[in-house]
Amino acid sequence: MLELRGVRKSYESPTGEELQVFHDVTLDVGAGEFVAARGPSGCGKSTLLLVCGTLLRPDAGSVRVGGTDVYALTANRRARLCAERVGFVFQQFHLVPYLTVRENVLARTIALGVEDAPGRADALLDRFGIGGRAGHHPAQLSTGERQRAGLARALLGSPGLVLADEPTGNLDDENGRVVLDALSEFAKAGGAVLMATHDSVAAEAADRSIFLAGPSTDLNLAQRPAMSGTKS
């Protein structure tokens, strides 16, 4: 589902110095696989997810989602691919504040027509135990409920690939477990999950973990044992 080949990404520091985030990354996340990308804060986990999620063009290398070279596409087709194949779950939830929970889940349908979207949205909300909060606004929800709403939004339309950036970072254990279980279930159902986390407990929910070192370290993930796909 997700293939990275020789991907490199660097930023320019305010002083004009080039800060290399990662270098020559090779990674495969297949359908039905739940992979945890681990490493300390600032090591480039979130950047890796953005690159994988079609939102950040790498300096070099190729990113394929469902076999399509993402950054070879036009901006519109890339956006379309993102809407069809990729679901994001963020640590900060990123719910639209003026939409209700149900509307937040359905916001994905602005970009993509989803068959029976309202019914599927309600089903997802019920599945994550927040069906009764469908008419509430994000500000009226607990953090756990917000993340469950974010999860429901990511899964609407069966995207194929879910990119989760520290999805349990702000949650208590119980809510964290709900989220991790949902991601595992999604993977077991044939989806691919790449989760960035620095939490070893959360990483244990994944099928395997990969490790990213410091932000300016050259890293060839493919040469690291942790990237081989074994559960750490």
């Binding site: 979130s46 519109n76 994001f88 719910l95 994905r108």
Partner: protein, 425 residues
């Protein structure tokens, strides 16, 4: 879910932003419609005012016309009987008839039994000649006095005959020659005495010398001839020249009859002058109203564009602030797969919606309140005054202007890098 839903939800979430933009657009579009209405109503009022004045003048003139018709009917009018072979062009150019006709014509007319239209008949012989003794060019008129009517009661004479051996002298002649009443002077070798002096008339009369007809005929070598007959105060039941002319020509077929300036004509001229003055008053009123309109137009031409520019700037600024405030949301929407055009649509759609709301509110307000200020009778009157097509075009133009004003900030939103935004958030 559609973008429109997103827009309406956001506007409800941040009402101040929307209300400020709608108010600005409403003020601009309302002032545009109201100002046009003010000008249009002013034009309508001007038109009505001038029409009323013109009608008043016309009514006054019609009343005067009727009065003068009655007056001239009672007074009759003056005609001049000329020899048939007299060229009228020459007559009007020279002010007298060069051709002559028998003096007997005057007797024939006076003795006719069946002519009822003429009251006074004055035969005369006229010539423009050089006064040899004084080397002055004058008009010499030989008059016989008024012809007595043979078959009806004579009216009081309106012109006395000039006694033989005397002359009546025009103002310019006696003034420049220093002649006084009873002074004796020589004229074409004949000694004459001043019988009367005319006051200034401002006409050819001022260089005219009136003498007895017989003496004039003798001096000019036209014995028994006259050049014209003046028929004064011709009465006609219809006050119509076309009735007088055949009445005279039936008796004197070798003549022609023309109307000459008399009191009736003078009064008609006075009446025309009064009409001209009244029309000039109307014209002055029209110019005054036009000047007032120009003043208002100048003021409006400054205020209205300023209001539109301020509204456009405000909408642009509010959109910019809105974009800054919603950067995180833009990142989320991009992560959900919204395309650049859809992000652009989120902000431009909102701007257009604000424009429509502001346009409707402003135009509606102008139509409701405008009549109070502009003086139009009612909303339909006001709408008619400002023009339906114009009003609709303002409602349609308002979203166009707001969309244009919001274009740059919306474009900035659409070009926002989602990765940067999501990392910052």
């Amino acid at each position: 879910m559609r973008i429109a839903h997103l827009i309406s939800r956001e506007m409800r979430y941040r009402p101040l932003n929307a209300v400020a933009a709608v108010a600005a657009v409403a003020v601009a579009s309302g002032s545009l419609v109201a100002s046009t209405m003010v000008l249009d109503v002013f034009d309508l009022q001007t038109e009505a005012l001038l029409l009323a004045k013109e009608k008043a003048v016309a009514d006054q003139m019609a009343a005067m016309e009727d009065e003068y018709r009655k007056i001239t009917k009672r007074m009759g009018f003056n005609v001049l009987i000329l020899p048939r072979d007299q060229d009228l062009g020459d007559f009007y150019a020279d002010s007298y008839s060069e051709k002559t006709m028998p003096e007997e014509y005057a007797d024939r007319l006076a003795n006719a039994r069946d002519i009822a239209t003429i009251r006074h008949l004055l035969p005369m012989l006229q010539r423009k000649i050089e006064w040899p003794e004084r080397r002055r060019r004058i008009l010499l008129i030989g008059v016989r006095g008024e012809m007595p009517w043979a078959h009806r009661a004579n009216k009081k004479a309106i012109m006395e005959p000039v006694p033989p051996g005397t002359a009546v002298v025009g103002w310019e002649l006696h003034r420049s020659l220093g002649l006084a009443k009873d002074d004796a002077f020589m004229f074409m070798g004949k000694r004459l005495r001043v019988h009367a002096l005319h006051p200034e008339r401002g006409t050819i009369d001022d260089i005219t010398l009136w003498i007895n007809l017989r003496e004039a005929q003798a001096l000019l070598g036209h014995e028994g001839r006259i050049s014209s007959m003046l028929a004064l105060e011709c009465m006609c039941a219809w006050a119509d020249m076309s009735k007088v002319r055949p009445d005279i020509q039936r008796i004197l077929p070798d003549t022609q009859v023309v109307e000459v300036a008399g009191k009736a004509l003078a009064r008609a001229e006075t009446r025309n002058e009064a009409k001209r003055n009244a029309q000039a008053l109307v014209e002055r009123e029209r110019e005054h109203r036009a000047a007032l309109r120009a003043e208002r137009e100048t003021l409006i031409s400054i205020l209205v564009p300023a209001a539109i520019a301020v509204a456009a700037l405000l909408v642009g600024l509010l959109t910019y602030l809105n974009v800054r405030e919603r950067r995180g949301e833009i990142g989320i929407l991009r992560a959900l797969g919204l395309r650049t055009l859809q992000i652009l649509g989120v902000f431009l759609g909102k701007a257009a919606l604000l424009g429509i709301a502001g346009g409707l509110l402003g135009v509606g307000g102008a139509l409701l309140l405008g009549p109070l200020y502009a003086g139009a009778g009612s909303i339909p009157d006001a709408a008619r005054a400002s023009g339906c097509a114009f009003t609709i075009s303002v409602v349609l133009a308002a979203p166009l202007v707001t969309t244009l004003a919001a274009w740059l900030p919306s474009l900035a939103a659409a070009m926002e890098d989602p990765a940067s935004v999501l990392r910052e958030e």
